[in-house]
């Protein structure tokens, strides 16, 4: 049976994982907007918006996986046709592609923020290049994963530099958290080796987001 990108036994856990990612990134976005209201600083708005897109991407993914799960459950008791299988495959493809697109938009906003790219022409150039590479790619999804991995690596380097300067527990947790998310994206690149890499990516990303959540808890 064609299911989500991971093994079918992982589908329920996958929905829960996506909802946790949605909650954590949603909290970060909400905190970012509150910080923007307090400081009235454009960087905070950009940060909050970036996380808002990432949070929306996880909500979309959770809903997609939930629909797939319900569809598979409905079909187990019935005789299913190729049309059903193609419908689920299409749902998986469109859902994961839309998630990746929203995730990439959010990540691009964070990348511009962390690399302090303010020049509109440079931003436009990056967007055109990314769009061109993805649209002309033979394997669209794998290319998006590759681009997000590269973006995450650049953000991670900036967060490592931030930790080196601040030497705070919270900045360490955020750096390690993004490290987990980065590692998760790396594992998704190895998805062609087997669906178990999807599970490994999910678990690694979960650890990453839990570390980010821990950074928000005040001691």
């Amino acid at each position: 049976m064609v299911s989500s990108l991971g093994p079918s036994w992982f589908l329920e856990a996958d929905v829960i994982f996506d909802l946790i990612f949605f909650l954590v990134t949603g909290i970060v976005s909400w905190m970012g907007f509150r910080a923007y209201r307090f400081f009235k600083d454009e960087r905070h708005r950009q940060f909050a918006l970036g996380f808002f897109f990432i949070c929306s991407s996880y909500l979309l993914l959770a809903l997609t996986n939930l629909l797939i799960m319900l569809e598979i459950r409905r079909l187990t008791d019935l005789v299913y046709t190729w049309r059903d299988i193609i419908a689920i495959a299409n749902l998986t493809y469109i859902g994961s592609l839309m998630h990746a697109a929203l995730f990439l938009i959010g990540l691009t906003m964070l990348l511009f923020l962390y690399l302090q790219i303010t020049e509109k022409k440079v931003k436009l150039l990056v967007l055109i290049l990314v769009g061109f590479v993805i649209l002309h790619s033979y394997r669209t999804r794998a290319t998006i994963y590759a681009v997000t991995t590269i973006f995450l690596l650049f953000i991670l380097v900036q967060l490592a530099e931030n930790y080196r300067r601040k030497r705070k527990r919270s900045s360490l947790l955020v750096m390690l958290g993004f490290g987990g998310v980065f590692l998760g994206e790396c594992l998704l690149l190895a998805l062609f080796l087997g669906p178990i890499f999807y599970v490994a990516a999910g678990v690694t990303t979960l650890i990453g987001y839990l570390l980010i959540l821990a950074s928000l808890v005040r001691r």
Partner: protein
């Protein structure tokens, strides 16, 4: 002056008052806030209007005291500063 810097100056002034035990003499505030007399006066007027700082007079001696709203402002400032530092946004 950018808005971001303005918030930090306000937080600095309020922190000076808090570290002094919640009350401070104008001369001590001027010395510790590291601002010019005119700039400090502008900020203090603004903080009084915003109800973050209150001026009291006892026995002919003037002091500035932190209000409850001032304490709340500082708590929020620290929370968002910690958040910004953690994510490297500041």
């Amino acid at each position: 002056m950018k808005k971001r810097e303005r918030v930090e100056v306000i937080a600095d002034i309020l922190q000076v008052v808090q570290r002094a035990g919640g009350k401070i003499k104008p001369t001590h505030l001027l010395y510790k806030a590291n601002l010019s007399h005119d700039a400090l006066k502008r900020y203090v007027d603004e903080l009084q209007k915003s109800d973050l700082l209150v001026e009291t007079e006892k026995g002919g001696k003037r002091t500035y005291a932190l209000t409850d709203k001032g304490h709340e402002y500082l708590a929020k400032y620290r929370q968002f500063k910690e958040f910004s530092d953690a994510f490297g946004v500041s």
